[in-house]
Amino acid sequence: MATESRDYTEATETDRELTMSRAMVEAIAWEMRENEEVFYMGEDVADYGGIFSSTTGLLDEFGRDRVMDVPISETAYLGAAVGAAQAGMRPIAELMFVDFFGVAMDQIYNNMAKNTYMSGGSFSVPMVLTTAVGGTYNDAGQHSQTLYGTFAHLPGMKVVVPSTAYDAKGLMHSAIRDDDPVVYMFHKRLMGLGWMPSPSGPKTGVPKDDYTIPFGEADVKRPGDDVTVVTLGLHVHRAMEAAEQLDDDGIDAEVIDLRTLVPLDTETVLDSVRKTGKLLVVDEDYQSFGVTGEIIARAAEGALDDLSAVKRLAIPDVPIPYARSLEDEVNPGTDDIAAAVRELHE
């Protein structure tokens, strides 16, 4: 479903379907084979292969020098990645859950994100910070956030959020080759884990060879004339499902997957809004001062005259609660998206 409308002009279509986890690891392994300077560090990334299978099999192929288990000292090892990157290596450092950024934020936003600028461009920080994001498995407020807006808000980091295996691989190649720090946020629910089943969308065909997906190119997952739905991560799949339902009722929604927040593909959003005149933004991050507000602001700045109605769905400014009934209430669901599109369409 998710890949139907996609036009892969260059990349070879393939029957080989991979989970997002396998696709992500394939890109990392390819880059590690090509470039001695690439290495991976994080907690439980060696023998365990990453709590969310972000490094499965890498230890066997590359050994402990290049696939490093590190102490639970995020400040030290994320900061060490910054230092190694400034020394010219290409480290990938994993923050097990994005929620743990708190114990190491200084290294992330004062060093990793700013050293290029504050050195007047004399230093580069070519590292990738990989991190698991998102809710839907009821682990409560310290283990369920996406924090998309937090990272995108602070200048100096590129922010990448794949929603399919195809994108996960191409964006990872781009991330490792990029000369700037890239925060690569993978949604737990999309990884294709046996113990946390994914929706059907993220498992896609993935070419064996390497390929890059440029940052700043949103993907129109489903063209439509009536309402524009802009989203990312898990909610791409919820929006696609909602769009199918709406289609039965004769409402034609266009679904846009942002894929990267920094840089942000404003043009694709504006083109769509100019066509539909109606904009819904769906985000799994907190509502206020975040992604939804930013997209709507850009739409207003760039296409105010074309806009007739705007809506947003996001976590309503409460921490993510534990009980299923509570988490479901605050995390926008397929039905919430369909209802919001219907309202806009009226």
Binding site: V103, A140, P319, L326, V330
Partner: protein, 353 residues
């Protein structure tokens, strides 16, 4: 010297905690078999069980009163039980129910019970600074209350722990840090992440006493903790204790432990602090019948808590919006409603009129 009554109390805490974890295994797996799906079944989220850690919780908390503060990490059940957290409401919380300790908002890694001054953090070592704060409050108010922060051996490499040691030491605060060394931090063995075999050595760098208990022995923990708590109560400052415990189960439920040698799993199961304490009790003349009685009582208490919890209502969805603040701003329209939803008598909280 520890009295036989105290040994019996510890034994009861420990068998309660062990049985609790074993029963939670059954309850957690309901709906999650044969294929393990973390989103299925009656207990939400991850579940980190503390079977094998009981001696530490029981031996330390024997010395604590309700007005003493305890902070626990992501593996908190045995500590909560020993501190006297309400078992029914704790269980209801783990099941995500409305009458749970945290109204279904916190879950098993985030248990809070103000009645016995118990709190958790799911972030590694982050219970340490608040424990230091509780000790600071006790010192400022001139009470003789103390605070205890529990953490895993994987947490001793974290800034929040090391900074807390220093702050507690320099201000002579009544706090005890208890490191539960179960040899593993998820899949990472201790010697992969620190060159220090004995975590209590961390104390030396901050000039406070550090004690290690090698034996997974409740009596030894009781004695070391007794000294540390007394030192704190008497205004003589903090202590760091590391206790050897064992992880009898996976890091969390569903962990296949592929990284862990069979022999290590077997060893962890053989070194059973509960059996060891039962032996001690027998040598003090406690009969097998009496031990059975304690066990039965503990099992009944656990069953009662679990049945009660399962009968409790789920929270209503709209409760998700409550408790963000103690004094909710009158104008907050955070439920996605427009500003016009706000009451127009916003002045009520304004203070000026």
């Amino acid at each position: 010297m520890v009295s036989v009554t105290d040994l019996q109390t510890m034994y009861e805490q420990m068998v309660t905690a062990r049985h609790y974890e074993e029963r939670l295994v059954d309850e957690y797996l309901v709906g999650k078999q044969p294929a393990f799906d973390i989103s299925a079944g009656p207990i939400p989220g991850e579940l980190h069980l503390a079977a094998g850690h009981e001696a530490s919780g029981a031996g330390v908390c024997m010395h604590l009163r309700d007005d003493d503060t305890v902070t626990a990490p992501h593996r908190p059940h045995h500590i909560a039980i020993a501190k006297g957290v309400d078992l029914k409401r704790m269980t209801a919380e783990i099941f995500g129910r409305k009458t749970g300790l945290c109204r279904g908002k916190g879950g098993h890694m985030h248990l809070f019970d103000p009645d016995v001054n118990f709190a958790c953090s799911g972030i590694i070592a982050q219970g340490c600074p608040p424990a230091v704060g509780a000790a600071m409050a006790a010192k400022k108010r001139n009470t003789d209350a103390v605070a205890v922060a529990f953490l895993g051996e994987g947490a001793i490499d974290q800034g929040g722990f090391l900074e807390s040691l220093n702050l507690a030491a320099v201000h002579d605060l009544p706090v005890v840090f208890v490191v539960e060394d179960n040899d593993w931090a998820i899949s990472m063995p201790k010697d992969r992440v620190t060159d220090v075999q004995n975590g209590a050595q961390r104390a030396a760098g901050f000039d406070l006493p550090g004690v290690r208990i090698d034996s997974d022995d409740a009596t030894a923990v009781y004695e070391a903790a007794g000294e540390a708590v007394m030192r704190a109560r008497d205004g003589n400052g903090p202590t760091l204790i590391e206790v050897q415990v064992h992880r009898r189960m996976g890091h969390f439920m569903g962990d296949a432990e592929a990284y862990r040698p069979e022999a290590d799993i077997d060893r962890a199961k053989q070194r059973d602090s509960i059996e060891r304490l039962a032996e001690d009790l027998r040598s003090h003349g406690v009969t097998d019948d009496e031990l059975d009685e304690i066990r039965e009582r503990a099992h009944e208490r656990v069953e009662e808590a679990i049945s009660w919890a399962k009968e409790q209502p789920e929270p209503a969805p709209e409760e998700a919006y409550e408790n963000v603040f103690t004094n909710p701003p009158a104008q907050a329209a955070t439920d996605g409603g427009s500003a016009t939803d706000a009451p127009d008598d916003a002045g009520e909280t304004g203070g000026d009129n």
